[in-house]
Amino acid sequence: MAAGWLRCAGQRCLWARLGPSLSVRHMVPMATTAKEEMFQFWEKNTKLNRPMSPHVSVYKWSLPMMMSITHRGTGVAMSLGISCFSLAALVLPEQFPYYLELVKSLSLGPVLIYSAKFALAFPLSYHTWNGIRHLVWDMGKGFKMLQVYQSGVLVLALTLLSSAGLAAM
């Protein structure tokens, strides 16, 4: 608020210095930072109770879109998984081998075990390969639409192969 008051004072100072030869049309308000503008944008949105424009419900889904949200989804899922594991490590009384023996005693079929390993390996593989794709983008390469689709398909293929391979180990 004080900044707003000073902004007005600053404007008047500016007018005085630049002289009467300039018309009022040429005056522009003092600069706002990107952060301030973002904050003002969201404040205005909430105040006016603006509805959000349809996006996921309206746009045709594309491979890059799906891969992007999957990258985020796998990341969040794994992060929460690690946090759960960590919490368990702090809370559970017995050592790790004890609980492993517990699972072993269930005598789960090999198909089930393979599926479980695949389910664990898949998000890790996907996030890793797509992560490398992101790092390539960060170097400024591979932004042409064809390249985006090609690298996307490559990531998917590598994910399936590595997940299958890891689950078999």
Binding site: S21, L22, V28, A31, M78, F85, F96, G131
Partner: protein, 149 residues
């Protein structure tokens, strides 16, 4: 801080006016575009903050380190890789979840609550992983044992 920020803005604006002296000296050749360009730069261009850009670089560095830790865990399992994984995994996850909060959580109060919760979660995760490494078999060994099922 509000007062000091206002004074800073005021003094910087003063110096900005002095810096725009060439424009002021010849008002006939003055044009709106130039003045707009001059004024619509952030007030602190004299001392730009590199925090965001350094953070971005750090995120990529951590990602690359994490990439390297996977083969390292396979080839040299042990306490060094265990504790490195604990640190790098937690950091990578923390920064990732932080971006998710920034994208989807809006409103001053919600943001503060969400970020606070995240900090607690990350602290707990790191503590738990280190505890596991110290008192239990360790991350590398645990994965190896799990996979031998």
């Amino acid at each position: 801080t509000c007062i000091t920020y206002s004074w800073f803005c005021f003094t910087v604006l003063q110096s900005k006016i002095l810096l725009t002296r060439p424009i002021v000296a010849s008002p006939i050749t003055f044009d709106r575009l130039t003045l707009t360009r001059q004024i619509h730069t952030p007030p602190d261009t004299d001392a730009p903050s590199k925090a965001a850009s350094l953070h971005w670089i750090s995120e990529r560095v951590v990602s690359v380190i994490l990439l390297g830790l996977f083969p390292a865990a396979y080839v040299y399992p042990g306490p060094v890789v265990d504790y490195s994984l604990a640190l790098i995994l937690t950091l990578h996850g923390h920064w990732g979840l932080y971006q998710v909060i920034t994208d989807y959580v809006h409103g001053e109060a919600s943001v503060i609550v969400a970020k606070g919760f995240l900090h607690v979660l990350s602290a707990m995760t790191f503590t738990g992983l280190c505890y596991f490494n110290y008192t239990n078999v360790g991350i590398c060994k645990a994965v190896a044992m799990l996979w031998s099922l």
